[in-house]
Amino acid sequence: MAPVLKVVDLQVSYYTDAGRATALAGASLTLNPGEKLGLVGESGSGKSTMALAMMRMIKPPGRIEAGQVIVDGADLRALSDAQMLQARLSKIAYIPQGAMNSLNPVTRIGAQMTDAIRAHDKTAAKQSIEERCQQALASVDLKPSVSKMYAHELSGGMKQRVCIAIGILLKPKVIICDEPTSALDVVTQRQVMETIDRVKEQIGAAVILIGHDMGLMAQFVDKVAVMYAGRLMEVSAVRAMFTDPKHPYAKALIRSLPRLDNKGVFQGIPGLAPSLLRLPAGCPFNPRCAQAMDICRTDIPRLTALPGERTVACHLFAEKV
């Protein structure tokens, strides 16, 4: 099966007054059709930057320095701006963080959905647009009457589902959801995640879920990518990640999770995430790593493939040269 998404060595920097911050340092990923990938990491680890870079939505002072984003065989970075406009939503859709605040408060939901279709297909008949909108709303479990409503008439979970409906209008190949449920409570969160799962099946898209809730990842994704200070630390199948994490950071992350059987044990990760402007030499995790060696303080570890289709960036697992 040909991968639907291939990210090759993507690099993003922000040019700030205090210097150049490398928010994403050469990240590579592949995703097969229908696959669900979870992108986890602390705030500032580059999760959202990676999503925005894939959409080519990095704004100055940020810049994509290098790399390729290949969706369905076409490199998005080689497209002209006009072509990229067409590709967004029809090939790759992005449901931003706090998407529910991104709805226009003064136009009806239906009009906003119509806009999305019109922008890609100027000749579409009114009736077919109407039909597609209703279909999209039905697939996220919303009543047809929602299209006549304004954003303020909907609850948080409903607004989030409207955003998903807009995201799937043009049946994209890849859907990126950036913390889709961080402002919702558990029951609504489950409903939204189940909705994403269902529409994904319907249109056969691949999903990238960005978040820091490992519990949600365990319930939802097939593959987990752990990010730290703009680098991918480990990419593994969800079961391998939870039962046998390899990278020391991934290990610490899994260990810090609250479970039913370890009541009252709180195990945080000592230390703080480094500032992107002042990264330590070598592996960015070395000051917090219990297993740090001399080489970790000088050389940046490269992503190494391990058996079982997993990759790890750590000197502990580096190929012996």
Binding site: E42, S155, V187, M193, E194, L260, Q267, L272, A273
Partner: protein
């Protein structure tokens, strides 16, 4: 035995509309007692609109109850005046949800901590202020040199939230109301903030009311739990019993929806479909009636609490064979 805090049949109703009053019951007939001599951590759980935050606001005296009384050390908090009021203000402290919004960006951390000390005249000299600040910052796991003199924007979310806890702690409170203190910080920092809160209870004898929708953290930190839904108590008791053997359909739905970081415990094992509450219906019967798959005729009358065990009570007619528990005696099923 002196009671630290007592809720006596507290009800809060919000009304809107000028001519035709539309009313929403945010909290219905809640009775609760916390003892002075046994510091504990009590969780109040529920989804948005369940009355959790109303409870916190009532407790802090920001709003007045529609019916019933709230007593602090035996005195009605709405009638406290003068020195008594100052004592109440000092001894009951709060930590709120959003560590990014509660700070004034123009003031340094020092200012934030010295204002309460000087307002309540807790220190006699500058040196004493300094040592109090250092001591409290250490108590919440921060290095004074790392944070003093800094502005809020120079600190991480976890540091800010710990400074919030430190600000409350510097006043030597008896009761801390923590309204979703970890929902906005990174998962890796949650553990250390929860550990800080538990240390306060253990080492400083502070009782904590932990308000949350996250039952995972509630399970790890609290001893007892009250599950609210639209202002009514659905289930209450010992946190272990309730999380592991929930009896009320609503509690079961809540617990079933927790994304456990456990591959062998999947979502959606119960028969209740995850669905948002429809805000419109508000009959006289069980508040959960519209969403409950087990509803039967009796449910159109409000269910009282039934006592299932020493530390377990639920408000559901499925358990009507058990002895009833008067709403005033709710505290009896809460281990302290």
């Amino acid at each position: 035995m002196a009671h630290l805090l007592e809720f006596r049949n507290v009800t809060k109703v919000y009304t809107r509309g000028l001519l035709s009053k539309i009313s929403t019951t945010a909290l219905a007939d809640l009775s609760l007692t916390l003892d002075d001599d046994k510091p504990t951590i009590l969780t109040v759980a529920g989804e948005s609109g369940s009355g959790k935050t109303t409870l916190a606001m009532l407790l802090l005296g920001f709003i007045a109850p529609t019916a019933g009384q709230i007593l602090y050390k035996g005195q009605d908090i709405s009638k406290l005046r003068g020195p008594d009021r100052m004592t109440f203000r000092r001894e009951v402290q709060a930590v709120f949800q959003d560590p990014f919004a509660v700070f004034n960006p123009f003031y340094t951390v020092d200012h934030l901590l010295t204002v309460p000390i000087s307002y309540f005249k807790l220190a006699k000299s500058k040196k004493e202020v300094r040592s109090m600040m250092n001591e409290t910052l250490k108590a919440v796991g921060l290095h004074p040199d790392d944070v003093l003199g800094k502005f809020p924007h120079q600190l991480s979310g976890g540091q800010r939230q710990r400074i919030n806890v430190a600000r409350a702690l510097v006043l030597r409170p008896k009761l801390l109301v923590a309204d979703e203190p970890v929902s906005m910080v990174d998962a890796s920092l949650r553990a250390s903030i929860l550990e800080t809160l538990r240390g306060l209870q253990r080492d400083y004898g502070v009782s904590i009311i932990y308000i949350t929708h996250d039952l995972t953290t509630a399970y790890h930190i609290a001893k007892s739990i009250i599950v609210l839904y639209r202002g009514s108590v659905m289930e209450a008791g010992d946190v272990d019993t309730i999380i592991k053997h929930p009896q009320h359909p609503y509690t079961r739905l809540l617990i079933d929806s927790i994304p456990w970081p456990d591959l062998d415990r999947r979502w959606g094992e119960t028969e209740i479909k995850a669905k948002e509450s429809e805000l419109s219906d508000h009959g006289a019967g069980c508040k959960f009636l519209a969403r409950c798959p087990f509803a039967f005729a009796s449910c159109s009358a409000p269910p009282p609490l039934f006592r299932l065990g020493d530390y377990h009570a639920t408000s559901c007619y499925q358990h009507r064979a058990n002895p009833g528990l008067p709403a005033e005696d709710l505290t009896r099923v809460l281990p302290m």
